[in-house]
Subunit: 285 residues, 2 copies
């Protein structure tokens, strides 16, 4: 089985390296030549274009920043689904919205191809370690066919349902997590204004009902004013936008998500786009 | 040392029983006779009015629902600070705002009395077990004088600073926690709309950056639609109001706290006041 990987940056790169280490025959492509080199150090080979890859792989992993990048690659601009061999499978690990996932899934079906939407639960560190949670969506029989392979690059593979459920789940998880980050920033700043030292404040909050994964993960960034991402403001804004938009499609109100979107937009406008999402703290200074 | 307890309901009652079990000479008062009876089963004695208690105790614990109840008791309506013996100490364990705490602290000083603001970190269960975190504020020497006594009713006593810091800290902790609750409700409902079963959704979210103390504590209430408080919508609304108001005093914006206040107000208006704060979930149905 030959595997192709398009997009081998922070997230896709870790997956590609783990596939190679697990003994698979892996071909990679990325517009960033440095990202490709970082994979080739471990093994595998590279191609010069997505089209070149399409015809030669049984499974194609994609990891791209935006839903539009993915539809351009697979259906529109490059349209490489048309060049893939019937019976082969696309496994996307990007964070995309349910509507785009459905569009790709249907386009794949029409060409006799299989599709799984497999958004990832954590960050680049876990992708590299092979401990990245995978939330898989698509036809159950396709998942069953690939479960053992996914287990080679993840210690925690979950079958969520169809592609809509898997992609919605990932976005919902980010919607909660990233909104919790701003809620935290707002109050951490308030505590400082009341003269409570930041480190002491965070340590005490962890003993109360205010405790959260984001307090543990992003509290130290705020404390040290060190905002290397992690998960950037730009990506956060993108995901929250997808969340608010997919909720709108179902007439489901997301007042807190919408307010969070406003603040991350403001952070981006203030030049914080490439900093970690915890940098929204600066908006409260 | 004789200790008085005014307000022996869910929180104050647990503290009073622990003081009695620790061997202190305890006198209690509450407008709710049943609450008083639940203390007397363990020991201690009761008086018929706060005034009667004021002159006979060395330390007065107060645990009341609203800041106004406390100022009425101590300064205005009942004004029992005037009846306390010079050198005695008031220890308030209610959740009050920094401004009220300062007012009481100054009023106590003027009468030769001591004051500690000691808001509590968790719920009635911890008050009863004696594992209730205490966040103490006031003069350091007063805290030092009472630390060993506070350790009898709490396994985790923290000195925060002056009364403003301790009371602000407690409110900030609730502001984060209770806002996280609505953020969670908004997204849990969105997940259900996408056809993800609630229990599965919560279990998976706990493996992501969406995890929080509130997911663990209130997720099951939402799952089982069982909203016995816990911490009621009414009390939540009160605390968030105090938080937004104390932030306004410092010109510090709390857009998420303000939005949360709107939703808990709406929940109260919908007749959910006596249900657990997790019942805001119903606003998204």
């Amino acid at each position: 089985m030959r595997i192709g990987c398009i997009g081998v940056g922070k997230m896709g790169g870790g997956l590609a390296r783990n596939l190679i280490r697990s003994g698979y025959d892996v071909v990679v492509y990325d517009i960033d030549r440095e990202a490709v080199k970082r994979v080739l150090k471990v093994g595998g080979s590279a191609v010069h274009s997505p089209s070149e890859m399409a015809a030669m792989v049984d499974v194609l992993f994609t990891s791209l920043p935006l839903p539009k990048h993915l539809t351009d690659l697979l259906i529109d601009e490059s349209g490489i689904l048309d060049q893939m061999q019937p019976g082969s499978t696309v496994i996307d690990v990007s964070t995309i919205d349910p509507r785009t996932a459905r569009l790709i899934s249907d386009a794949a079906s029409q060409r006799g191809l299989q599709f799984l939407a497999c958004p990832l639960g954590k960050g680049p560190v876990q992708a590299e370690e092979g401990t990245q949670p995978i939330y898989a969506g698509g036809k159950r029989e396709v998942f069953d066919q690939f479960e053992s392979h996914l287990n080679k690059i993840s210690t925690s593979v979950h079958y969520i349902g169809d592609v809509e459920q898997a992609t919605a789940f990932k976005i919902i998880s980010n919607l909660i997590g990233m909104t919790n980050v701003i809620v935290l920033c707002e109050s951490l700043r308030l505590g400082e204004k009341f003269g409570i030292e930041q480190q002491f404040l965070q340590k005490l909050l962890a003993t109360t009902g205010a405790d959260s994964y984001q307090l543990t993960l992003r509290g130290p960034k705020i404390l040290n004013q060190e905002y290397t991402p992690g998960f950037s403001v730009n990506l956060t804004l993108k995901d929250i936008r997808l969340g608010v938009s997919m909720a709108n499609d179902l007439n489901q109100p997301t007042p807190f998500g919408s307010l969070a979107m406003e603040f991350f937009q403001r952070a981006q406008n203030s030049g914080l786009g490439e900093e970690d999402c915890a940098a929204v703290y600066k908006l409260f200074e």
